[in-house]
C-alpha cells in the first residue's frame, strides 16, 4: 500500500508501470488518473488546497476499507496539491487483484471517496483573471450511497 500527497508533479506512466510490474500474484491492474481539463471559460490554472495530516489519514483509511471489502493485492494513491495547469495530472489511484471485478470496484470506490471525503479543495483561475472555488457536485455525494 502506497499513499502519497505531494506538491510536485508525478510520472503517471512510470508509476503505473512500476505498480503493475510489482504484481506477480495479480492478474488485473486498474488505474484511474484525473487530469486538469481546459474549461469553456479558458482555464489558466487550478489550485488545490488540502488539510495536511488529515488528507493522509483519510486516504489511508479509504485504502484500508477497500482492502477489507475486496480481495486486493495492492493499492496506490497519489494526489497533488498546489498549482497545476491544463493537461497536468492531479491524482491517480491503482488497484491490483486476481480478478478484474475486484480491481475495478475498488478503484471506483476509492475515487468516489476521494472526490467527496478527502480534504482537498479546488480553485479554478480563468484567463480573464476570475478565480472561483469549485463547487461540490450532488452527483459525487450520491455516488457514495452505492458503497
Amino acid at each position: 500500500m502506497d499513499i502519497r500527497v505531494l506538491a510536485d508533479p508525478f510520472d503517471f506512466g512510470a508509476e503505473a508501470q512500476g505498480f503493475a510490474a510489482r504484481q506477480s500474484a495479480s492478474g488485473a491492474v486498474v488505474t484511474f488518473t484525473g487530469i486538469v481539463r481546459d474549461t469553456d471559460a479558458g482555464l489558466l490554472a487550478m489550485e488545490i488546497e488540502h488539510y495536511p495530516g488529515m488528507t493522509e489519514s483519510q486516504l489511508t483509511g479509504f485504502a484500508e476499507q477497500a482492502r477489507k471489502r475486496w480481495a486486493l493485492e495492492d493499492v496506490l494513491v497519489i494526489h497533488r496539491h498546489g498549482r497545476m495547469e491544463p493537461g497536468d495530472m492531479i491524482m491517480m489511484v491503482a488497484t491490483a487483484a486476481r480478478h478484474r471485478k475486484d480491481a475495478f470496484d475498488a478503484a471506483e470506490f476509492l475515487m468516489d471517496f476521494l472526490k467527496s471525503r478527502a480534504p482537498f479543495w479546488k480553485r479554478e483561475i480563468t484567463r480573464d483573471g476570475a478565480s472561483d472555488w469549485v463547487q461540490s457536485k450532488d452527483d459525487d455525494e450520491d455516488a457514495l450511497s452505492r458503497w
Binding site: 488546497e49 491524482m91 472526490k115 467527496s116 471525503r117 478527502a118 482537498f120 472555488w133
Partner: protein, 81 residues
Amino acid sequence: MDVLYFAWVRERIGLPKERVETNAATVAELVEELRAREERYAMAFEDLSALRVALDQELSDFDAPLDGVREVAFFPPMTGG
C-alpha cells in the same frame, strides 16, 4: 483548542488557523461563539449546510461534543480527485 479554516472559509475569516479559548460543549456552540465575534465570522458561518467540520482530523457533525478535542477544522464540501 486550535481552530483551522480552509478554502473560502479561510478566505472569509482571513486566517488559516487560530487558538480559541472556549467552554463550548459542542461544535454548534463553538460556531455560535465565533459568529458573535465579528461580521467576517458571521459571514463564514452563515449557512451551516454549506460547511463541514472535522474534530482532530476526523469528519464529524455540528452537534458533536468538543470534550477532549484539540483541533477543530471548518471547511466547505470537499472537491478532491
